[in-house]
């Protein structure tokens, strides 16, 4: 058995984007967040953006810890509030790219209101949402993504709630880029994150990721690889499928792919247009006073 030279072990391609002094990280073995984090770093590197022009904002939870390990300007906000913080940061410094990386519970339960309004505004943010179907940090409680019937520590007899379809929600609210992969679609995920970073507007990338420690364990899929394969094996790539049909259905198919991509003005585009007087007064077609009067008389 040969030993790799120490110098070769000392450097990893992502080391310059990592706060290596903070390693080891807090994530459990078998967790999918590390894969997503690797894809995120690869995408940031590939983007060619100056490092000082990329910021990462996160909320609370396992995924929220990404912000603390990346060697960029990064902010770890309160639970659920990454998107409104990122909104203020983006509007104060529009030349910067702001990436929000957080979990499904953070972004879509406690932070759900901010999510829908940022999507509505087409706020120029990239949202990386790691969906592990439960609250991992607090030991495995019900999340807005937990499958119907699944066991968590707060649904010990099975989940009576219907989960959200996050991609459908994002698209319905006005997101201009929406995609989903599992944590095993690494190359496609990296390319998608890169596209999302370059997309101008509200981009949403959902990653179905294993949490064997808190979620799989209570649902008879204890092995990390088993859980990773469980998601991957059920996945079917259907690009451009209407997001409402892009369901996560473990009995039939877990639809992945890029569902939405189009251009529309961002909040800041519209704000600047309004301030320059370039937006027509509402309503565009004025009320015909005489016709309105006639109807009243009739």
């Amino acid at each position: 058995m040969t030993t790799a030279p120490a110098a070769a072990l000392a450097r990893h391609p992502h080391d310059d984007l990592l706060r290596t002094e903070r390693i080891p990280h807090i994530w459990c073995s078998g967790c999918g967040i590390g894969i997503v984090f690797g894809s995120l770093m690869a995408a940031i590197t590939k983007s060619g953006l100056p490092r000082q022009d990329v910021a990462v904002v996160s909320g609370i939870g396992c995924t929220g810890r990404m912000a603390g390990y990346i060697r960029l300007d990064s902010f770890h906000t309160t639970h659920g509030r990454a998107i409104p913080f990122a909104t203020g940061l983006k509007l104060a410094r529009p030349q910067g790219k702001v990436i929000v990386a957080s979990g499904d519970g953070d972004l879509l339960a406690i932070g759900g209101n901010h999510f829908i309004h940022a999507a509505r505004r087409n706020m120029d943010l990239t949202i990386i949402c790691v969906n592990n179907f439960n609250y991992g940090m607090t030991g495995g409680q019900l999340a807005p993504s937990t499958p119907f019937g699944a066991k968590t520590t707060t649904t010990p007899l099975g989940n009576p709630d219907e989960p959200f379809n996050f991609c459908a929600l994002a698209a319905a609210c006005g997101a201009s880029y929406v995609a989903r992969w599992t944590a095993l679609h690494i190359r496609r995920l990296t390319n998608t994150i890169l596209e999302a970073i370059h997309h101008k507007g509200f981009s949403f990338v959902e990653i179905v990721a294993p949490c064997p420690t808190a979620f799989g364990r209570r649902n008879k899929i204890r092995g990390a690889l088993d859980l990773l394969k469980f998601y991957y094996d059920r996945s079917v790539v259907k690009n451009h499928l209407a997001p409402g049909e892009a369901s996560i259905d473990f009995d039939h198919q877990l639809v992945v792919g890029k569902f939405v991509e189009f251009d529309r003005p961002t909040f800041l585009d519209h704000y600047q247009m309004v301030n320059r007087g370039e937006v027509e007064a509402w309503p565009a077609t004025g009320v015909d006073a005489s016709a309105a009067g006639q109807r009243k008389a009739g």
Binding site: Q52, A67, P84, T87, G88, L89, L91, A92, N113
Partner: protein, 386 residues
């Protein structure tokens, strides 16, 4: 449309509007807010004025988002503020704590109305004073200013921004509905006569920069996002690098720093005015609109020959502990009029320690305190045997 940030001249405007002009004069260029009576006029005027000076206004989806957005904007390098009233102030508490923990300069104007809950939305109250001090969880110190007129809404808003930039924390303007809605003369000086303080920037290269290592005055220089310092900022207990550090020792060090930078700089923060205190046997201690009721009462009582003085608290938090302790040795009674059922009066009681009497003139909200009631309390206090 281009416009002036400083509207030098003499104006007739309400307190909410004066607050906006103070903010713009101090350099505020971002406002994230949510409408709420009686603070709505602040947001309305900012929505019109900020685009004129190259700023950004956004109406957020709620007050939680508003508070988060102004923190984000501050790290993006813009002076930022929001305005609200009781219910919105309650919603902001968690992110005010985030601002305190991450030492983020910003300003929150609370135009107080009568509570609890939805209360009397259009009518005055001063019931958020203890919430201002203690409403977010954990140990911290806060700075809260109490304007008593539209002119002070202008002046104190500038002061609030300067303090927030100097000491790196969210600063509260604890106004009230009457001050917010009353129209009075507001004099705005020329821009070059307005003192504007900006946050201290790091002077070391990024490799040597520790974002939470305090300078000589206890405050750390602050880089903005995008300046190339690659900072991590967290609401978790953190060390000088800003890295989460889950130990009791780190908690002691961090909280002592954020508390100490206020407690050790009281001479630069405390602000109160006194009137007729020299020979006073009774002192009326008041803040906000109640300080104007108190002033009327003290002037009337003096005309009647009563030995009474006034203390007007311009800064309510931190509380002027040493001064009030000394005052309690001089007078036989301190009287606090306030539009709640007894909040700041507890500070007087705590500091008097029985050395003098402490009386509350209270109203639960909906109307100001009548000067007549304060005059009566002064008379009673002077008649009481020591």
């Amino acid at each position: 449309m281009a416009g002036k940030a400083v509207l030098t001249g003499t104006h007739f405007m309400n307190g909410d509007e004066a607050c906006c002009e103070g903010a713009l004069a101090a350099g505020c260029r971002f406002f994230g807010g949510y409408p709420i009576t009686p603070a709505t006029e602040v947001a309305e005027r900012m929505s019109k004025r900020l685009p004129q000076v190259g700023g950004v206004f956004i109406q957020m989806e709620d007050e939680i988002a508003s508070m988060a957005a102004i923190l984000g904007a501050s790290w993006g390098g813009r002076k930022s503020m929001t305005s609200t009233s009781g219910p919105g102030f309650s919603l902001m508490m968690e992110n005010i704590g985030l601002g305190l923990c991450t030492e983020t300069p910003c300003v929150i104007c609370n135009v107080q109305r009568a509570g609890p809950s939805t209360g009397l939305p259009t009518l005055v109250g001063q019931g958020d004073m203890m919430q201002a001090r203690w409403g977010s969880h954990g140990p911290y110190e806060i700075i809260a200013l109490c304007p008593a007129s539209p002119q002070e809404m202008f002046d104190f808003t500038i002061k609030a921004f300067n303090l927030s930039e100097q000491f790196r924390l969210p600063v509260l303007i604890m106004a009230d509905e009457v001050v917010g809605h009353m129209n009075e003369r507001v004099v705005i000086p020329p821009a070059d006569q307005i003192t504007v303080i900006d946050r201290a920037k790091p002077t070391v290269p990024p490799a040597e920069y520790l974002p939470f290592r305090p300078g000589p005055d206890g405050v750390a220089p602050m880089a903005n996002f995008g300046d190339g310092y690659f900072m991590h900022v967290t609401g978790l207990t953190h060390d000088e690098r800003g890295y989460p550090t889950m130990t009791p020792a780190a908690q002691v060090e961090m909280t002592e720093r954020i508390v100490g930078k206020i407690r050790n700089n009281l001479d630069r923060i405390l602000d109160y005015e006194t009137l007729f205190l020299d020979d006073a046997q009774v002192a009326v201690v008041a803040y906000g609109i109640s300080a104007r009721s108190a002033r009327g009462a003290v002037l009337a009582a003096r005309q009647a020959g009563l030995k009474v003085g006034l203390v007007k608290l311009n800064v309510a938090w931190p509380f002027p502990e040493e001064f009030i302790r000394e005052l309690s040795r001089q007078v036989k009674c301190m009287i606090m009029p306030e539009i709640n059922l007894g909040q700041m009066v507890l500070e007087l009681e705590r500091l008097a320690q029985g050395r003098c009497a402490v009386r509350l003139v209270a109203h639960p909200g909906g109307t100001i305190i009548s000067p007549r009631r304060i005059v009566e309390a002064i008379g009673q206090a002077l008649e009481e045997r020591p």
